[in-house]
Amino acid sequence: MLPEISKLIKKLDSLDYVVEEELATILLLMLKLKKPLLLEGPPGVGKTEVAHIIASYLNTKFIRLQCYEGLDSASTIYEWNYQKQLLSIKLTEGSGLSSAEKESHIFGDEFLLKRPLLQAITESDKAPVLLIDEIDRADEEFEAFLLELLSAYQISIPEMGTVKANHIPIVVLTSNRTRELSDALKRRCLYHWVPYPEFQKELAIINKHLPDINQVLATQLVKFVQYLRSLKLDKSPGISESIDWAEGLIALGAKAFTQDYIDKSLGVILKSDKDITNIRSQGIDSILNEIEA
């Protein structure tokens, strides 16, 4: 392993983030090439957390853009504060300013409402971390718009001209792969598929979050969750659900991973009635025996 990578792993570990060699290598590459990183994977595997931890590691500002269907440029780049502009016009009515002066005044920085993308490229101190979360939920039109931003790092505002990035932001895009992203967007990014964590990694994550947890309980819980992921469920549990479950069991005062506690708290890990019924009908006892074997 390269010394820089092991150093990064140690640093992230000190920030309570468990990262394996592969992801650490890609993060290092992203920082060296200054290229956006596209993380794809099932929900709940910690894709969003990567952006948070990079911001903490670099001690820089974190800007998040949550994507959704119908997301438009007004909500992502900028908007004019219309009400404030109107008030300003009223206030300057008797001031004797020319209409050109009035216009340049109301289309100034004071009236500009910066949205995440504009914030990211106008950050003056340091390159911020920009998280474009769940890009697969946004429309293709928005995806096409991002192409310009991710290659030129500039935005055109008709009233003000082109705004260029002071510092190239560190961009992390996440996708749950509900739809295929365009090749053009993928070409502009480094790509990493984030799978569900393996047993050891998941155990380490739970220990990081809950250092006082009983080791036997944590081990059995992780084995159980790993088993659930191997089944065909409507919604497989992610890492966050495992942590919540462990926290829940501790809150319930569980000393051991028994059928009673599992049955009571199954709703923490499974988010579908069908899945819960399936697991109960399969028999929690038999599952426990199977994972122990």
Binding site: L2, G70, D139
Partner: protein
């Protein structure tokens, strides 16, 4: 056939690897080559595993490409490794290097032959999924049918999703002056809040005639799935299948599950994959259903090869 062993120097080796990947399904542009070179020069080349991970993140654009990439990386760089990477060789490693010397060329030529054999996949610059998206159903190899089913399901879901989205009123319509004035009456003459007009969409009725004769075998299954997907996006869909007979399948496609719909069609139809008597079928359609369903016709789709039955079609 490329002789990658002819390259020398780090730059040439990286470019040679790009060339190899490019000729085997991975879509790699000039910027990727440049970035691969930058990664190598910034120290990743010093560790084979790190270099592999770095190049994989640059070259691959989906998880499915990982295995292809890994295969070519191992073949290509196993040979080049000793030139750039620290020498931590054992006797066993030396043996592996010897084995790969010839296999770089062999694999290159082997895959080219395979590609030539597989006509359905020879879409330039596209990966397997992409090429399958552009391939005619009739040219799809049997082995790809499962993959195609999966792909069709995904595409149909996307189609359904998009159609639904289009029917939703946009917030970005024109300013509705009447509503805006009314809303801002309390503000005097200041129009603080701007209200927009909502676009209204009208759902259309659709009539579909689908040819399910023998020649359409490879298409009809997917087109039926397509019709089933469309049902929720139109006011009313009237669907018919025909070959030597005409069958109205409107009630079957109303089923919630596509499997149920298919099963119903299967049990009610005995003329699937037979010949085509398009004229007779259209005549039957005219006689029995046209008055009921053609009150307001917006769209008529037929997938049949009308040319062959043109005379009969004109008569009907």
């Amino acid at each position: 056939m490329q002789h990658y062993s002819n390259y020398s120097g780090l730059e040439a080796s990286v470019l040679g690897f790009c060339e190899l990947c490019r000729s085997h399904e991975l879509s790699i542009g000039l910027n990727h080559s440049e970035e691969a070179l930058m990664a190598a020069q910034s120290g990743f080349i010093n560790d084979s595993k790190s270099f592999k991970i770095a190049l994989r993140s640059i070259f691959c654009s989906c998880e499915e490409e990982y295995s292809t990439f890994d295969r070519f990386f191992d073949i290509y760089w196993r040979k080049k490794r000793h030139e750039y990477m620290p020498k931590t060789r054992t006797r066993k490693q030396t043996k592996i290097i010897k084995q790969t010397k010839g296999s770089v060329v062999l694999v290159g030529s082997g895959d080219e032959e395979e590609t030539k054999k597989d006509g359905a996949r020879t879409v330039s610059g596209a990966n397997k999924m992409e090429s399958l998206r552009k391939t005619d159903f009739s040219k799809v190899a049997d082995i790809d049918h499962l993959l195609l089913d999966e792909l069709a399901e995904k595409l149909l879901l996307q189609l359904n999703h998009r159609l639904k989205r289009r029917l939703r009123a946009s917030k970005d319509g024109k300013i509705d002056l009447r509503k805006t004035i009314r809303r801002n009456l309390s503000q005097g003459d200041n129009l603080f809040e701007l209200l927009k007009k909502n676009r209204k969409f009208e759902k259309y009725r659709m009539i579909i005639l689908l040819d399910v004769s023998g020649s359409m075998d490879k298409y009809s299954f997917y087109l039926l799935k397509f019709i089933w997907t469309l049902k929720s996006n139109f006011k009313k869909i009237e669907a018919f299948v025909f070959s030597t007979k005409l069958l109205r399948i409107t009630e079957f496609i109303e089923k919630v599950q596509i499997d149920q719909a298919m099963l119903q069609m299967n049990t009610n139809s005995d003329h699937w994959s037979s010949g085509t008597v398009i004229g007779k079928c259209l005549q039957e359609f005219n006689d029995q259903y046209s008055k009921k369903v053609l009150l307001k016709l917006n769209c008529l789709e037929t997938t049949a090869w009308i040319q062959a039955n043109l005379n009969c079609y004109q008569k009907s």
